[in-house]
Subunit: 169 residues, 2 copies
DNA sequence: ATAATTAGTTATGCTAAATAACAACTGAGT
DNA sequence: ACTCAGTTGTTATTTAGCATAACTAATTAT
């Protein structure tokens, strides 16, 4: 069963110093060479950290980053079709279907067949969906706060600007 | 067979205007709402673009981003163990094994059992590996050039600094 | 009508990433 | 010398993200 509130895998095993632990010699500081200057590498490492933070922040709601993004877009643009959302978020239509069905199964969103064009569905949030979204956004806000604390307000704004430019590469 | 030069999937289908093409009404500009300010979202979009650029740039060599990063690290730090590389690149040891074996099968790297500790392997590049790495780095340079053209030299430096900060979130 | 397109779906494959379990090996303490 | 906890690399398995091809149903152009 996949309710709107899902508990992910329980992590955190509390790494004890452990008695017979062989104390690691200083990690020897591996030289990354040119890799450290690769934007792609830095993006991957940063994304790993941010996504870990995301999962931590939204654990109690149990929404995926992808699911949250879809909820936000539907909330802001009720009546969009699946293709519209897919185009907006750069998701393949084929991959969007199961994601949306999951949201529907959780009673967060509904697909409404349009009489005008019976091929496409108008997407809307349920009341419950709006509530969950509001909670999720509040939780997510904490993550962004953490990021702002890490980068500074100016740094955060700069970063977004730079990443947006990269998207048009 | 998986040679050092692999041709990935052939894309680029040249979207023709096509005769009976229904001219899309203006895409209606979906409102992303707060999503546009999510660092995680921006990271994903940027990474998509950069990785697409990576694949394009390295197509003729056929190295994965992960593979290239491993080659760079081994080249710079000959004799590292698998665990060392994994720690340096934030890769699971279990996932590293097949990656390394692929590099070995392509005669780019070798595993040398240490008499001192017969559990671990010292990793080195073959001559061929060094050659391929040099070519790969040259090709990758083009990508970084494109990125610099997109962000400016200052922007590129800023971005790397900001992403590094994010890694420690 | 008929041909071409579009919207959504299904099936499938690939890669990255995570986890658990295991054998071989090491080293520290008794 | 021996035990035992810990490490190294491996295998197997699972999951998520992204991609492509092929299909149905509905729509539009000619």
């Amino acid at each position: 069963m996949r309710g709107p509130v899902r508990t992910r895998t329980a992590r955190a095993k509390a790494a004890r110093p452990s008695p017979g632990a062989a104390r690691q010699a200083a990690p020897a500081a591996v030289d990354l060479g040119p890799l450290g200057g690769f934007i792609g590498y830095r993006l991957r490492r940063a994304q790993l950290a941010v996504f870990a933070g995301f999962e931590l922040a939204l654990r109690e709601i149990g929404l995926t980053a992808g699911e949250l993004s879809v909820l936000v877009v539907i909330a802001r643009n009720p009546g969009l079709t699946q293709s519209d959302v897919c185009a907006a978020l750069a998701v393949q239509r084929a991959n969007f279907t199961p994601l949306l069905h999951a949201l529907e199964a959780d009673r967060l969103a509904i697909r409404e067949v349009l009489p005008a064009d019976r091929r496409s569905n108008a997407l809307r949030l349920t009341c419950h969906g709006r509530e969950v979204l509001a909670r999720a956004l509040a939780l997510h806000e904490r993550l962004e706060k953490r990021i702002t604390a890490c980068l500074g307000e100016a740094g955060r704004t700069q970063l977004i600007g730079l990443l947006r430019k990269l998207e048009t590469l």
